[in-house]
Symmetry: C2
Subunit: 369 residues, 2 copies
């Protein structure tokens, strides 16, 4: 366990994360300017999540690009632990994965780990996590993925495909490894100990290199996969990590799908969004208007601003204006919140329509064993 | 780990087993005379494996009989780890299970744990264990089970049915439990740690009590299942245990499918059987004929006699005559071996024919997910 002031594991994120420290702690690489330029050159476009450092770290992304430039394609894989409804933080790696898929014209696998959440959550049944898996799949499909090159995996549904691959991995992982990587103890349940092998399995579904866009808290799973891959004659997965999306109540933790009051769900109504942002969104503003006008606000710790930066305002010049106006005191916290509320509700209006339409299309996306 | 001179775990049996001590160590119950009489009363028959103590121990067998007499049926479940061809020791619980099935008119599930043997054997691939699973299934079918009430489970093939049940069990087992029950260490692989949950799964395939005839070395798995069952709202499995079948080279270990020279396979030719018995079967006889005639042999340690007692001579009076003749010195070791060789080859002639016919029928027995 780290001696720092923060903890990042797949099941627990706590404290204010120092991402430079985390890169050292996890042993990943920062996305350099050169690498950014290289991606822009290949894709012909600069994605705001890259240039703003929302995706900040990687493993072997250079190798993926080397191969790609030699004509060797990769495939994409990401996923979600279905412990509740999707919240807007979950959409970050999915939207970015969508962009990667379009730019590189590659296949995509999306894993819904209903078993993992059953193992990890004392009070959840497998029926509940399976239900949320179906609900979460609708959000994923709503982002515009095509069934021709995108397959959704649900662990308990696709276990026949996953298990023989997971077994190869599980044979090469011992309890010590899971202790070292996840901090497991003698009291950790046998499902959790085995589970990481199932999260590894989709890396080897195609005989090609895989690139995984994901929240950095999921990196430990793939540290194990990368250790095991050469031992079973496979290529190590490459990763590109996004930062943790703060909860409404502010930095120090990722947005959790289990906390109603600190999370905006993709299923929230405009009224609920308005209420949540106004009531709970941590503000970088001053205690009263007079002081705010004088001293200005702090956008760097203001959650509404951060949500705009991370997801809802892709236009750099518009974002800069908001930053400057808020910092100078020209823009009040309530005004900043109003901008975010409108952006979220604009997005959710379209998203929720697509999400409902996805119900009838779900079957086309589900991986066949 | 026991402080006794013997070790009995699902993956390692060593030393000369004191079965009374083992009953205490495992916490099972000896099959009492009263219980034997009760079974005879219900079935109308005394099975030689019961009256000779080949099946010597149980858990909750009385409860199964109580329920049965009240009209509540149970189902049977046993299995095999497919690490090689079937040897004659494996047939003991299967033949007994067949008898139970006929007498009680109940369903039977037979689990082939190809994943377990892959996890447990450093050098075996999943393809190899799956191949042996198919081969072992032929031996099982050859014993006369009917596809109407008998289903064969192959773990990797039926994982979609097994995994959701195993997950319920795995959530209730922690690493400490597996350490205590199996002697696992920090170096034990994650597949092995999870696996016991998959061996538990068939216990809950039907909403009825289950009775499991099995080698006593497999008891630790079901000790875990029995602890977990009430926690997931299920009935504890009942067990009936057979002794370990000695290897050709004598007591101190069970017959192992991995040791060519100490094992008789169901696929062996008459010549091979003859050679193996004559060359390797541990003899209770004296060093030379003169001494043997004078002092007599010791059938209690003679492997050929033991094989007749355990499996190949169901007729008590014939067996007693062999015992007395060998003990008195009237029968020589070579003569005793000749009796066994003939018995085995008679059995295998019929068995091998049925085994080949089973190839075309295999599909009818395989559990559909």
């Amino acid at each position: 366990m780290p001696t720092d002031d923060f903890i990042v594991t797949p099941w627990h994120v706590e404290g204010e994360i120092d991402y430079d420290k985390l890169i050292k702690q996890f042993g990943t690489e920062k996305i350099s300017k050169q690498l950014l330029q290289r991606i822009e050159k290949i894709t012909g476009e600069s994605h705001f999540m890259l240039r703003r450092g929302i995706f900040f770290s990687h493993r072997d992304l250079g190798r993926i690009l080397d191969d790609y430039e030699k004509g060797k394609k990769f495939f994409l894989y990401t996923g979600r632990g279905p412990s509740g409804h999707t919240h807007i933080g979950h959409l970050v790696p999915w939207v970015f994965a969508k962009w990667l898929q379009e730019k590189f014209d590659v296949n995509m696998y999306f894993q819904l780990t209903d078993d993992e959440k059953f193992y990890a959550k004392q009070n959840m049944t497998l029926e509940e996590t399976r239900l949320f898996a179906n609900e979460n799949a609708l959000d994923f499909i709503a982002l515009g993925f095509k069934p021709e090159n995108t397959k959704i995996i649900i662990d308990t549904k696709n276990i026949k495909t996953l298990y023989p691959i997971a077994a190869q991995v599980a044979k090469k992982i011992n309890f010590s490894n899971t202790k070292a990587v996840f901090g497991f103890t003698n009291e950790t349940n046998a499902g959790m100990i085995f589970y990481t092998a199932l999260q590894s399995a989709p890396c080897f579904l195609e005989d090609k290199p895989v690139l995984i866009p994901l929240g950095v808290d999921q990196d430990p799973h793939f540290r194990i996969t990368r250790d095991v891959a050469p031992k079973i004659g496979k290529i190590k997965p490459a990763l590109i990590h996004n930062i943790m999306i703060p909860s409404l109540e502010g930095p120090g933790g990722k947005m959790s799908a289990s906390e109603e009051t600190t999370t905006i769900y993709t299923t929230d109504s405009p009224e609920v969004v308005k209420k949540k942002v106004n009531k709970y969104a941590f503000s970088g503003g001053q205690p009263d208007i007079e002081e705010h006008r004088k001293k200005g606000g702090n956008p760097d710790i203001d959650v509404s601003y951060q949500y705009l930066r991370i997801f809802f305002e892709p236009d750099d010049s518009k974002l800069k204006k908001i930053y400057d106006d808020y910092k100078s005191g020209k823009m009040l916290s309530g005004e900043l919140k109003a901008i975010l509320i409108e952006k979220i509700n604009q997005f959710l209006k379209v998203h929720q329509e697509k999400r409902e339409k996805a119900r009838d299309k779900l079957d086309k996306y589900l991986l066949e064993d």
